[in-house]
Symmetry: C2
Subunit: 159 residues, 2 copies
DNA sequence: GGCGGCAATGATATGATATAACAATATCAA
DNA sequence: TTGATATTGTTATATCATATCATTGCCGCC
């Protein structure tokens, strides 16, 4: 669960980062997979903000301290982090975001602000059950889904 | 409205194409925009099937009869068709699909079969109202959304 | 400790998707 | 006809992602 329920509001973001990295270490230990230095560094970079970040922006950051970093370096780390439920891809932006609900089985549901760029992950039963109902009505069996809602976050509405 | 309520089922698809092109001509006339030969041809190519098709696949098709076709040719046509509500982009596939509900104001909701590739556009109030409720609960005001549901269509479940 | 197998990373190249910028042409109303 | 605007042509480049093979690091086993 996220440390802040509304990432667009000011908050002590260093706690978000610490929490995310701590949880990631736990999860990886539980799953017996290796959260290597590169992978952890990339996860840390993704958690630098609550805005989805592109692979090449990550690469640029990573390359500052890791001279050998090339596109495959990043994409491999991203694949690992996705496979282990630590990040999500925002399909409509070709960008990546730290998962705010690590551990649970879920597909992403995102509220993405068109002004400040912040993406908030939510996990609303009403949404998933509506999808389930609508799909069933068409004889369709859900395996996964992409939900990306664009609009104005509470903070940016007040500007 | 679509001629078939379940595009994965066998049907006379030439009617889908005719209907889509006919509606497009009407809409463009109403809106006083020009459905040029290239644009109409691209729309026809998109409607060759109910599977989302990528820009470069379209380009390859178009180039058969239109030697001068280059990436901008396709992307301009795609932009026009999107702007006028005649096609949708499937974000998770970087591919394009004919709109099954031209005329009405709507964002897309898609059921995409992971076996046969068919994408069915739906427009379910229960989905949009669930999104609205969930967003409001987080103080978020919706402008648009991306809904792409992956799974098995009725036909492919029976295989 | 040394060996062998496998996971991870390095390195190079290329594929796939999308747009910028400017020139040439077509359309259409005045 | 002519000028304004939309469309298309053309070239180049930006952006996103993966294939392939070599090398290195990790770890259990002898
Ligand atoms: Zn934070
Ligand atoms: Zn905002
Ligand atoms: Zn059809
Ligand atoms: Zn199917």
């Amino acid at each position: 669960m996220p440390l802040t329920d509304s990432p667009a509001k000011p908050h002590d973001h260093s706690l978000c980062i610490e929490d995310a990295l701590g949880q990631a270490r736990l999860i990886c230990e539980q799953r017996n997979v290796r959260l290597t230095a590169i992978r952890e560094q990339v996860l840390g970079l993704i958690w630098q903000s609550h805005k989805p970040i592109g692979a090449y922006d990550l690469l640029e950051q990573l390359a500052k301290t890791h001279h050998a970093a090339k596109p495959p370096t990043i994409y491999r780390a991203l694949e690992f982090l996705q496979d282990n439920g630590l990040i999500h891809k925002i399909e409509s932006q070709n960008a990546f975001l730290g998962c705010a609900h690590v551990g649970g089985h879920h597909h992403g549901q995102f509220l993405i602000c068109t002004i400040c760029g912040t993406a908030q992950e939510i996990d609303e039963k009403i949404v998933s059950s509506a999808l389930e109902n609508a799909s069933q009505a068409h004889g369709f069996r859900i395996q996964s889904f992409v939900i990306e809602i664009k609009g104005l976050c509470a903070t940016c509405q007040d500007l």
